[in-house]
Amino acid sequence: MPEPASASGAAPRAEGPWAEAFRKLRRDRTAMGAVLVLCLIVLACCAAPLYARYVSHTDPFQSNPAGQITIHGQSVDIMQTDSAGLGLGVNPIGPTWHGQYFLGADGQGRDVAARILYGGRNSLIIAFFSTIVTLVLAALVGTVAGFAGGWTDIILARLLDVLWAFPVYLLAISLSIVIISSGLQIGPINIPSNSLLIPIAIIGIVYVPYVARPIRGQVLSLSRSDFVLAARCLGVPGFRILSKDILPNVAPTLIVFAPLMMALNMLTESALSFLSIGVQPPAASWGTIIQDGEGLLYTQPMVAVAPGLAIVITVLALNFLGDGVRDALDPRAKLRVRKD
């Protein structure tokens, strides 16, 4: 049972639970290291246009099969003649470890390093906003179901059961294929099939039951607790109980879920993009770049390996941060995010 907001009475120095959690988190060196890594990754991805303009000097969205670059004063073809490679007689240039084509070129002669920075923006944006979608929807559904009870609860809880039993990838695939094949038309709003809103909404929705079910349970037990009963007896209106007594106690749960869900969403986004039903070309994400690199795996492995490393580092940092946040806010570790 989470303590109500006034749990600081016994402590020698009055300190709210939020301040205490924040202090704990700041002392957690692993979590702070993870925050640093995440900040660096976000900054690097924000700087993508600067990198493309001043370092790599290429447009990472324009195919460039006939281009040439200068290394050590020598002019080198980006697509080199090679009997192996794509089977087309050409093979893109490998990592130069110089400003231009630092990680080499992909099958269309585009700078992989610049594409990874641009792709990272999409991966981060989708992971972040789909997490917000999940948390907001889950909080809404979970709170309404748990607090309203009766038929509302029965219907919402059953709906969550159905979605929960639905394998995540299959649900995401079904939604993506239908929406991406023809875009989405809801009344006057037309969402084109290459909009980032589509993967954000899909990934956000498929994970709602994972968060909403624990929230509903928590709200259910809170609304039967003595302090809520006391408030009801005093005639406090329902919405006030909700905002003053229930929501503050649910908030830590949501915050514990946030980094872990974002890690999970990032992996899901990369998988959907890898299956070509996530981010649509010419836009890139780390998942689509790995897919671009599949055909070049044995000749220019860097195209597929580098974006994968970017995913691993980001997701690992998010998971470390998530563990830290959980330790700070939920010391007995009641919550666990399932990953599959």
């Binding site: 159905v162 597929a304 390996v305």
Partner: protein, 324 residues
Amino acid sequence: MLLPVLRRLAEMLFVMLGISVVVFGIFFATPGADPAARIAGRNATPQVLAQVRHSFGFDQPLPVQYAKMMDKLFIKRDLTSFVNRGQKVIPAVIEAAPVTLSLVLGAAVIWVVFGILVGVAAAATRGSLLDRGLMFLSLVGVSMPVFWVGSVANLLTQSRWHNSFLFHWVPGLGYTPLTQDPWMWFKGLVIPWITLAILYIGLYGRVLRANLVEAYQEDYIRTARAKGLSEARIMFRHALRTSLITFVSMFGLDFGALVGGGALLTEVVFNLPGVGRLTYEALQTLDLPFIMATVMYSSVFVVFANAVVDIAYAWLDPRVRNAS
């Protein structure tokens, strides 16, 4: 005992019905385009469109369409693909199922064994360097996209190190049926098994460690210590047994989810012709009847597997078994 089982079965039927309605809704009632055009695929002639519209009942109300669809999927089982003209969808899915089962079963054996090893070793040495190292590796394991791990595994075992003593035995990508050549079946699946198992070793190792550490704070462990039992006996006979409860129920869910589509990415990367790969190929050609059939059959399987696990679980747990 009988009543909870019946209850669980009723719940299962309800969830199956719910999922079929959701799938139907996604494929036929999403606003945006003509469902007949989606089913018929790209470049369909007006005659084909008209035929699809009639045979799926798109000129009739939604409940009729739903009934017709379920009839085609589960009773007549004659749903055909329009991309590969005339190919019957459901036999293809059933034919691919053994490949997926082979992949998931082998991976499950690996992840259960290593998951327990990691969890027990980390909990037994909690706080030590070994514990921290194992937990770090586990977190790395759950942070890697499985299709990328598969690509890297292919890069090493098929190309870069293929001619070294380590991986010269690895056959080319693909699947050999168990009945045709058991040894080739095994050799071809070892790398996919390990790839698929890595995530779950990390996940199960972490959960098991947390449960064991929690169990060590219980009174019955103190009692066992007070009786003078050895540390090994306390771990394996007392702490591990209760901690495995979560482990077992997680296993049931994950196994079902993997057979029902979760192994898709691994199948794609290793070119294994299972249900997941069928789904992937249908995705590339926008073959909607195919995707719908794999999604429907897989999710029904998952729901069924979950119900079986719950019932088996209730039967195994004396507290539940003797409750009624």
